[in-house]
């Protein structure tokens, strides 16, 4: 007998399964998956405001601008103010913006080990926890929010949702194929392994900067 069948067989014995009970239980499980039920959720307030507050609490920095066209100038200004390079690797979804006009040198694609600044968008932004929901794909490589020391994310105000459950509902409706990776990112990478002292930049970015658009 395969290990799989042995494990499942023992589980069924322990659970006292019978033939007819099994078919009914299978239906119940299908139902639960097809009609997912949410647990208690904190009552929503003003989502963008909550998102910004929570994102700051998770040590992201937040800036904003009115339209997408202003993003390159905002990015360049912030990078210069931080004393960081204006050379960045951007998610291909943002290749259409006028980066050189803002004085940025960009490469559209996936970040490599030597890229210092990575730029992504986000699928949804979760107000409850100040969290970005990023999905993988050719237009939005996950490495861009992971390998560079600095991660900048463009967050359209319309992408801000109250909670994770809402974001999943949107994902189910919009994604034809479930992406390989969905990353929830809340601020810069950190560790508290040595003496419970928090240090930023454990393995991922040292800083996460959000630009709210709209």
């Amino acid at each position: 007998m395969s290990t799989r069948d042995d494990i499942l067989g023992r589980l069924r014995r322990q659970l006292g399964r019978t033939g007819s009970g099994l078919a009914e239980a299978r239906r119940r499980i299908r139902d639960e998956i097809d009609t997912p039920r949410s647990g208690p959720r904190p009552s929503p307030g003003d989502d963008p405001e909550r998102f910004i507050g929570r994102a700051r609490a998770m040590l992201s920095t937040v800036d904003g601008c009115a339209t997408m066209d202003e993003v390159p100038a905002k990015v360049a200004g912030w990078l210069r103010a931080q004393g960081l390079t204006t050379r960045l690797v951007i998610a291909p979804a943002f290749a259409g913006l006028d980066w050189s006009g803002a004085g940025c040198e960009v490469r559209a694609g996936a970040a490599g080990p030597h890229d210092a600044v990575g730029l992504t968008g986000c699928f949804r932004a979760i107000a409850e926890t100040g969290t970005l929901m990023l999905r993988s794909g050719a237009d939005m490589p996950p490495v861009n929010s992971l390998l560079p020391d600095t991660h900048i994310a463009v967050v359209p105000r319309t992408c801000i949702v109250p909670d994770m459950e809402t974001a999943w509902t949107h994902a189910r409706a919009e994604w034809r194929h479930w992406p390989r990776a969905v990353n929830l990112v809340s601020g810069p990478s950190r560790t508290a392994d040595i003496e419970q002292t928090i240090v930023l930049g454990a393995h991922g970015p040292y800083r996460v900067h959000l630009i709210i658009v709209g």
Binding site: T3, R4, D6, I7, L8, R10, L11, Q14, L15, G16, A25, R26, R28, I29, E32, I33, P36, R37, S38, G39, P40, P42, R54, M58, G109, A110, T129, T131, S136, G137, P142, V143, L146, M164, E165, W168, H177, W178, P179, R180, A181, V182, N183, L184, V185, S186, S189, R190, T191, A192, D193, I194, E195, Q196, V199, G201, A202, H203, G204, P205
Partner: protein
């Protein structure tokens, strides 16, 4: 070494005691603050408990559903009888893909299985990448002392000396500098590894994904850069839907570190798609039984709800005094005192269910309401039934049981005992040396009886009323 000897050693270790004192109570305080700031905590905790209990009632079918979805996404699902079998399966995967180096993010099941030793024996190099786990690995594969803060027992001076010795760098005592030194050492390992091995906090049946919860980002690197990703976890980790994940994520980080959410939660579903610029080409799940299936439907099923947050040990007076290593296996604290005897054998962990004051604090803070003290009591009972306790204890229990079944004798005995204890107390309200059992009062006083026995008081009161 026997548990009692290990404990004695830990209590005599001044450095360890100093390190334990430094963090004592801090995690409990962080959790308390996080719970206070989240008014819905109790309702969410009840829901989290219900989700985990519901899954266990149909665990066979949830596993089947998960397997079907994961396979559909292009992952391969493998099943392991126990830790040893899991190691064989993983070595086999590594050989098939010509893997020489494996970068690992934290997995307690990997500790259960002794995976690092098995990989090394097969000439495959494992590299731990969680900062704490990395520190332990380069310190001669020292075991972790906490399930989420593996080096909670170490001081920065100890880490500094270790780094200086192993990395050949100047000793630093600045924690930030130490952390960034480890980052610089590990980054090339991520980039050069052929396989990433992760644990799995949850398996999601709806999508066939594994969810990984980390702060450092090493979990993301391990599951994004190498050609092969293996997720190693226990069969009990499956949950139904993304909504259930959302609920559990509201209690896990708050209970563990007092965070509202961890920096990263990654949901990984199958290998890279056509056109993806990153991600592994192959993805495997290794689902380990290792004693879990037999707990389903048993007196100990509640334990399988555990989501490995560590709150029970953070609130345990015994754990915080003796540290994690004294428990002798990978799981310390209250959850370890239940899991070790169940997975390793009742006779292999005789003292663990006894190593508790049954103060119940663990069960009060457990995010999935596991009645840990009750489970420890059941294990004590089982040990007694199977004749595993020392003969003196068994004899004493038998004598007590015999007397307790004879009310007159019992009342007489209780009266004598009270008199004896009052004589020992000699007018004070505490007994400093317990005459017949001095061991009992070696570290504490015993309260003196306040007056007559309960039975005498009760009888007197009834007379008064009549």
């Amino acid at each position: 070494m026997h548990f009692v000897d290990r404990v004695r050693q830990r209590l005599d270790d001044a450095e360890l005691q100093h390190n334990l004192k430094r963090t004592r109570g801090r995690n409990a305080a962080s959790r308390a603050a996080a719970v206070a700031a989240f008014p819905d905590f109790d309702a969410v905790r009840a829901r989290a408990t219900e989700i985990r209990a519901r899954v266990l009632r149909d665990l066979d079918l949830w596993l089947e559903a998960f397997e079907a979805k994961a396979t559909e996404s292009g992952a391969t699902v493998l099943w392991a009888r126990d830790g040893e079998h899991a190691c064989e399966l993983i070595i086999d995967i590594a050989r098939r893909h010509g893997v020489r180096t494996v970068v690992k993010s934290k997995s307690m099941v990997s500790e259960e299985a002794g995976l690092n030793a098995a990989l090394e024996a097969a000439d495959i190099r494992p590299v731990e990448t969680d900062l704490g786990e990395y520190i332990l690995q380069i310190n001669d594969n020292e075991p972790p002392s906490h399930i989420i803060m593996p080096v909670i027992h170490k001081s920065k001076e100890q880490v500094s000396a270790l780094f200086a010795r192993v990395h050949g760098t100047a000793p630093k005592t600045d924690i930030e500098a130490l952390t960034h030194e480890a980052r610089a050492v590990l980054r090339p390992q991520f980039l050069g590894a052929d396989m990433g091995l992760s644990g799995g906090n949850f398996l999601i049946a709806e999508t066939g994904s594994v969810a990984i919860v980390t702060n450092e980002g090493n979990g993301r690197l391990c599951t994004t850069l190498p050609r092969v990703h293996v997720a190693l976890t226990g069969i009990e980790k499956v949950i139904p839907t993304l909504e259930d994940l959302s609920t559990l994520l509201r209690v896990l980080p708050r209970s563990a570190t007092g965070q509202a959410i961890t920096n990263y939660v990654s949901l990984l579903t199958g290998p890279r798609h056509a056109g993806d610029p990153d991600g592994p080409e192959h993805m495997y799940f290794v689902l380990v039984d290792g004693g879990r299936a037999d707990l389903v439907g048993s007196d100990f099923e509640d334990m399988l709800r555990c989501i490995r947050c560590g709150a029970c040990m953070n609130h345990c007076p015994v754990y915080q005094t003796i540290g994690g290593h004294a428990y002798g296996w990978v799981y310390p604290g209250p959850m370890g005192s239940v899991l070790t005897p169940l997975y390793q054998g009742l006779d292999k962990a005789l003292d663990l269910p006894q190593a508790a004051t049954l103060c119940n604090q663990c069960s009060v803070v457990c995010p999935v309401s596991i009645p840990l003290p009750e489970l420890m009591r059941r294990l004590r009972e089982k040990q007694m039934e199977q004749g595993l306790r020392p003969w003196r204890e068994r004899l004493a229990t038998r004598l007590w049981a015999w007397a307790a079944a004879r009310p007159a004798l019992y009342a007489w005995g209780a009266r004598i005992a009270v008199r004896y204890l009052r004589w020992l107390a000699d007018g004070r309200d505490r007994i400093q040396v317990m005459g017949l059992a001095p061991g009992w009062t070696a570290q504490r006083d015993f309260p003196a009886p306040a007056g007559a026995t309960f039975r005498d008081l009760y009888a007197r009161r009834r007379q008064g009323r009549a």
